[in-house]
């Protein structure tokens, strides 16, 4: 009984479908997350991540499926249920921050409490508390328009969490900030979320934001879920070509699985008429004889001047760009150009002949 309750997800999205005209923006996706966790929906624009978030928020309707938080069903067209956004008790941080320019910071933050008819003295206490949490105590009485981008962002977060909502939604909140500020705010947002302990869903197209902040990531494309997992898992064990290409940088080669057992095996890759066999890990759902894509991260490609038994690729360095802590190299192998991150000590230079080898533990065969 107790086990059954804990296994039940806090937020549950079931078979969500949303059409925009003739486009299936969200195509039958389902997921659930436990209370207090931080989930990121990651994907390029048009993948359906924002549509999913808006569906949870109630800012637009859905065509079929069901969304539930705790014991409350937000929407379920089949049952004729649609809870308007203001009844869902959600905090949301928008891309443009959406700080109301005709109010002060404190008035902005107090608004959700006023709507809930909270007592005046309690509002003041709570607003002060939240402004302290986001570091805006000194700005309480300034007009929202006098704030910098980063400060508006903090005010927006304060407003979203002030009423202790059930859920906190972020719609690409950092995309309008410059790089430096973005890096600071990533950490800040994560800190605030875990201090408050609120369940959060974060939408972004920026993979590094997703990797830094999330407990879990859902990678989406064309309205479908490609993969779901923790940051390390998504990065190191992408299930298919799309995910390994979207998260980080990868060398991707088409090939054929020769043998596979226990998650390990060999993939044959043919390039310019000659075939090489690469020992590697075999991703889920792939068996011997399948077409597969070999995925190798640049930092897992080892380049050496001397050939050796396990170095089965022989190529020529076309670029070697020294970037301080590493050297960004390109190695031409027939028609294929390998991206290689080499240690500065190797002092590779353009025009050199090198041998590449791959550690089977960090070489992965994924679904095409």
């Amino acid at each position: 009984m107790c086990a059954a309750e804990t296994s039940r997800a806090y937020l549950e999205v079931e078979h969500l479908v949303k059409w925009f005209g003739n486009d299936r923006a969200v195509d039958d996706i389902s997921f659930g997350i436990p209370e207090g966790s931080f989930l990121t929906l990651l994907g390029p624009s048009g993948c359906g991540k924002t549509t999913t978030l808006m569906s949870i928020a109630g800012l637009h309707s859905i065509d079929s499926g069901r969304i539930r938080v705790g014991d409350t069903v937000f929407t379920s067209p089949k049952e004729g249920l649609f809870l308007p956004p203001e009844k869902r008790d959600i905090g949301m941080v928008f891309q443009s921050y959406a700080i109301w320019p005709h109010m002060t910071v404190a008035q902005n933050v107090a608004y959700p409490l006023e709507i809930r008819n909270v007592e005046k003295s309690e509002i003041d206490d709570r607003v002060a508390e939240v402004l302290k949490l986001v570091g805006l105590t000194d700005w309480a009485d300034s007009l929202a328009t006098n704030l910098s981008g980063g400060q508006q962002q903090r005010a927006s977060v304060a407003r979203a969490i002030v009423s202790n909502p059930r859920l906190l939604l972020f719609d690409e909140p950092l995309s309008n900030l410059d790089l430096k500020l973005r890096e600071i705010m990533r950490v800040e947002l994560k800190r605030i979320q875990s201090e408050v302990g609120i369940t959060a869903i974060y939408v972004t197209h920026d993979q590094s934001e997703a990797l830094v902040m999330s407990d879990e990531i859902i990678v989406m494309s064309k309205g479908k879920i490609e993969q779901r997992g923790g940051p390390v898992e998504i990065y190191s064990q992408p299930v298919n070509e799309y995910v390994s290409n979207f998260i980080g940088v990868a060398n991707l080669l088409k090939g054929k699985v020769i043998d596979a057992s226990d998650g390990h095996g060999n993939v044959e890759v043919t390039q310019n008429g000659h075939a090489i066999t690469v020992p590697c890990r075999i991703g889920p759902g792939i068996s011997a004889g399948d077409e597969a894509v070999l995925s190798v991260r640049p930092e897992n490609v080892h380049a050496e001047r001397e050939g050796s038994a396990n170095a089965n690729v022989e190529g020529e360095v076309t670029h070697a760009i020294f970037l301080g802590s590493y050297v960004d190299c390109r190695v031409q192998w027939g028609d294929f150009e390998w991206k290689v991150i080499a240690h500065p000590r190797t002092r590779l230079r353009a025009g050199e002949k090198v041998y590449l080898h791959f550690d089977p533990q960090h070489t992965l065969a994924v679904q095409p």
């Binding site: 929407t75 956004p85 005709h102 608004y111």
Partner: protein, 565 residues
Amino acid sequence: MRAMLTQENLSTAVVSLIVAAAVIIPLVVLFVSSFKVLDPLGWDTTWGFDNYVIMFTDRIIPKAFVNTLIISSGSTILATFLGVSLAWINARTNCPLRDYLEPYNLIPFFLSPFVGAIAWHNLGEPQTGLLNNWARDLLGIDGALINIDNIWGVIWVTGIFFAPLVYLFVVGSLRRMDPSLEDSARTTGAGLVRTTMTVTLPLVMPGILSGAIIVFVTSAGEFGVPFKLSAPYGWETLTTQIFSKAVGDDANHNLGAAMSMALGLITVILIYIQQRYIAPRSFTTVTGKGFRPNVLDLGPWRWVAFAYNLLFIAVAVVLPIICLLIVSLHPVWTGAIQWDQLTTINYVKTLFWWRPEAISAATNGIGNSLILSFGGASIAMVLALVISYMIHRTKGFGVRLLDFLSVVPIGFPGIVLAMGVLITYIQTPIYATLWILMLGYITRFFPYGQRNISSIMLAISEELDQSSRMAGASWLTTLRRITIPLLKPGIFAGWILLFIIFLRELSISIILFTTGTETLSVGVYYLTNFENEPLTSALSMAQTVMLLIAIYVFRRVAGREALTA
């Protein structure tokens, strides 16, 4: 959720239908009526093209058509010249005190051209014109220096009154122009004049063309000025002819409808060209960034520019108002100021409705116009708010129709639309009430209010509304606490603009009024037609003072940008 969609669809559909009914029905009725031919006895109608044939065979109408084209072309040339030169002086030269001159350059835009014509009649009439009298006394000229009572007088008055329209279309582009565009022309060796002619003017050309087309269309639809200055002396125009077919002894609504169709066809084509091809281009040539424009040092010529600008303000604003004041203080106007006879009796007769000598057309006019202006502006702004909200914040069925409908009325002169409204509603209970006037006003002018709101609504993000919903506020609370407060400047500016327009409105009122529902401008019309110049001037002064107060309030709340609707 499906319920939400339906609600959205339903409400946009209902509002679209109401607006469509208000805008389209009169135009359709006008079109249909123009093919109804009244038999010679005036009892029965048959279908046919006779009304259109009459327009070519009639003794007066073809001439009126030509006169309309001459007046519109002439006033367009004059207004464009004045508007562009004044805008350039104010935006791009070191003309002294130019920041103080600008508000006065714009005043004619808000005043009544009809009253302007009355004032200029009293300045430039050959015998009793004040200027002609001064010329005889001071310069010793025999006869008259100028004669305003002809087609050239109409061009003069409409030209100076509509110059601010061109000014407003051009001055923004001149101010926002990236100075590097001109600087790079200068570096290639082009001189100042050459740069102005080859770079500056071509860049603001879309603005100039837009302004010119609007002036042409507004002049073609102008009723009061030709009615006062040229029609009594043998130069009829389409508008004065439509008026005489709508009311009076030879009233023939169907012939009036045919003439309205002809006038409306011209204006709607021109407005279509302006909206479709010219207005969009003005955004691509001039960037929206806040540049400091090049300011040209005119040297000693800056005083010439200053004098030129002062002269414009004198002939467009100061002289007419002073003339009205002088004439209004005389028991009879003979053309000479008689200091010992000054009296306020004309104001008593026109303003003090409780006095026995009050003239009811004038006193009714003041009350009715205030009701129409307050009520009409308020209703129109509510409608404008709803329409803007639907166009920019909902995706319901009917939004594109609404977008289209809010441009259509701009294409038709007030007198044309009023003709349609008259024929449509003459047999309903709203005829002979203020409601038919209000309907005409709102239908013709709500787009101006809607643009004031839309421009602000486009600038504020939809997320500001959405975040209020997420904070737990209902749609209505969001509207009350977030959307409307943010739109307040636009709502108020639009309201005052419509208040001003309604307070001076003539060409709709003149078609739709009946005894008891006279408006302020109809009162002026009544006095100038059936009473004397001093009484006319007194009521004109009253209207002008009310307008000047409203303009002052408008400047305080709206500023320059809100005008360029």
